[in-house]
Amino acid sequence: MATETLTLGKALNAGLRKALENDPKVVIMGEDVGKLGGVFRITDGLQKDFGDQRVIDTPLAESGIIGTAVGLAIRGFRPVCEIQFDGFVYPAYDQIVSQVAKMHYRSQGKVRIPMVIRIPYGGGIGAVEHHSESPEAYFAHTAGLKVVTCANPQDGYSMIQQAIASDDPIVFLEPKRRYWEKGPVELDAPLTDAYPLHAARVARPGTDATVLAYGPMVRTALDAATAAAEDGRELEVIDLRTLSPLDLTAAYESVKRTGRCVVVHEAPGNLGLGSEIAARITEECFYSLESPVLRVTGFDTPYPAARVEEEYLPDLDRVLDAVDRTFGW
């Protein structure tokens, strides 16, 4: 089987290419996705090979991108929309939460919107304002949408294809600061063999405490686990992958073994995903917990200027600090 080493960006590109090849109804649409290949080059070369009817440079209008994709979906296409940056999804927010999310429900299942909304998200790349946001909770809070995020090239490659093949509307969050990180990707494995889209996965087994992370923070959590191992502590890291529905089966099993749990995300802590996760773990694992579930998150401020983002973003030290606190109880 062909295993190649690819960056997350290239893996996503390969996954999109596969999807375009396999299903003539798949169309990619967004700003600058054509000749430029997207500002992150995730759609690089696709318009050249599939034409401008399949890879569509849209007018500069996000509500238009999502709204017309709804119509295309009703017509039997499978639109894959690229939103250029996290902070620019809000002009389309009404279409996503009021229309995309509810069509299947309102039509009692007669209308399907098999749409994927790709959003490069999160900080850590030194960008100006509106380019570093973590909007996952807005979407995860909306019933009818599914929200997933990949953390490594293999998942990027298979999850994007699974999302496109799915009949659900899916918000597909891509951790932009990880686009350039490399990993092995099995390019020829059939999609049916891929790890299920809506399941979390143990990224590193461990016995002493459980760290739950997703998207850009998985790498940070793994680095923290490596550092903790040097101090003789074995952290289990779980990559949540699916944020809505939230799959916590692996997390429950893990926390029942370790008795300690730290949840990590970049988005502000207030009413973030970590709150939901901590509540559910407390309900499910109450008698196994040695200490409260702790959260390591961004602060409850707007995303700050780039020169202080390293302080804003949870890093290895803050994760280890939280792990220490769970042991101090």
Binding site: L36, P59, L60, F299, D300, D317
Partner: protein
């Protein structure tokens, strides 16, 4: 040229029939007062028959030239600073100096401007220290000037959003009774050709029209929205959109500082006198990349850039000043030297711009603070102190 209220654009409204007084360089309906060769055109007619002319003193002509050169030089310095890692990003205005200086100088002190992220030339005309936008692009702040003091709002990165803010502000001007005379206030909203596709911009057109807001929509059509050419945004000339919304639209040669001034001054005066909104399409070209992280070779051909180079806004002003013997050679040398000195000064100050203290990220979230946030700040400070002596 004196800051604030220079020159005078005179105007008179004529009834049809329209004559093509200034049929400019192949573009229909392009108001032009200075050709690429530096020839002055006495007056030019807009699509509704408005006659545009300017009447500047030699000193004012020199001032406009100085503005153009300074703005270009400071912009070039910022691009260089980005290349050297001192700025995270820079959105250059190269090629758009005339549209920005022309419209910026047409503003009166009482007028309010709502910019995008590229309006460094207008910012300069508003009397704001050119270091100000560099903080945003360096990543140390989010733009440091006081919008109320300078009547120049914050840069807006989300495309088109500011057009609605400008509309609301202009509605407020009218509600405050500040229109209807020469002392009236007018508002200007800047945006690009790409932005005209946004819902917000179209909603702004609707609102401004319905409420007769004293507002000038100033679209710098620089032919591209990142990689996408104008044809991806529209099938009709942008200025013609205005008609469908119920207000006048005009296309001006955006590389002609005189015409940009005349057309903007006229539209602002109409607005301040209570005649409602209008749309100006400044037909121009982005000579450089969209921003420093863009690669225009993927979507743009060199011959196109060359063709626009021949229409350079500074070169034509220089040719005009020389031909008319308004200046001698020493003037150009003096302006160049001033631009060089100011850019060196800018560079020094950028290099000296310190990173903010991390705790400042908790400042200004709410006007009166919040106990929860105060607690977070305190914990964060304690956490930072725990690294005392380490790299933190």
């Amino acid at each position: 040229m004196a800051k604030g209220d220079p020159g005078a654009a005179t105007r008179s409204k004529r009834a049809a029939p329209r004559t093509k007084r200034a049929a400019a360089t192949g573009e229909p309906e392009l108001v032009q007062l200075l050709t690429p060769e530096g020839e002055r055109i006495e007056s030019a007619l807009g699509p509704d028959g408005t006659e545009y002319r300017v009447d500047f003193t030699d000193e004012e002509y020199r001032g406009l030239y100085r503005d153009l050169v300074l703005v270009r030089k400071l912009d070039a310095e910022a691009t260089a600073l980005q290349r050297q890692g001192e700025l995270g990003l820079w959105a250059s205005l190269l090629g758009q100096e005339a549209a920005q200086v022309g419209s910026g100088r047409a503003l009166r002190t009482q007028d309010m401007a709502f910019p995008t992220y590229r309006e460094h030339g207008v910012l300069y005309c508003r009397g704001i220290d050119p270091i100000m936008p560099l903080g945003l692009f360096r990543g140390v702040d989010q733009g440091g000037w006081d919008p109320n003091e300078f009547k120049f709002n914050m840069y807006t990165i989300v495309i088109g959003a500011q057009t609605l803010h400008a509309t609301g502000y202009a509605m407020g001007v009218a509600m405050d009774g500040k229109t209807g005379s020469d002392e009236g206030e007018a508002v200007i909203a800047y945006f690009g050709d790409g932005a005209t596709s946004q819902g917000d911009v179209n909603e702004a057109f609707v609102w401004a029209s319905v409420f007769n807001a004293p507002l000038v929509f100033f679209c710098q059509n620089n032919q591209y929205a990142i990689s996408e050419p104008l044809e991806r945004q529209t099938r009709v000339p942008l200025y013609q959109r205005a008609g469908g919304f119920g207000f006048p639209g005009v296309r001006v040669d955006g590389n002609d500082v005189l015409a940009s001034y005349a057309v903007t001054r006229h539209a602002l005066d109409n607005a301040r006198h209570g005649q409602g909104p209008s749309l100006i399409e400044a037909y121009t070209y982005r000579m450089g990349a969209h921003t420093t992280s863009d690669d225009p070779t993927r979507y743009r051909i060199a011959s196109e850039v060359e063709a626009w180079q021949a229409k350079d806004p500074i070169a034509r002003m220089k040719a005009f000043l020389t031909k008319q013997q308004i200046v001698d050679e020493s003037f150009f040398a003096e302006v160049d030297e001033q631009a060089r000195a100011e850019s060196v000064h800018l560079r020094e100050r950028v290099l000296a711009m310190p990173d903010p203290e991390p705790v400042t990220m908790f400042d200004h979230v709410y006007p009166n603070g919040s106990p929860e946030l105060d607690e977070q700040r305190a914990q964060f400070s304690k956490y930072l102190e725990s690294f005392e002596g380490s790299a933190h």
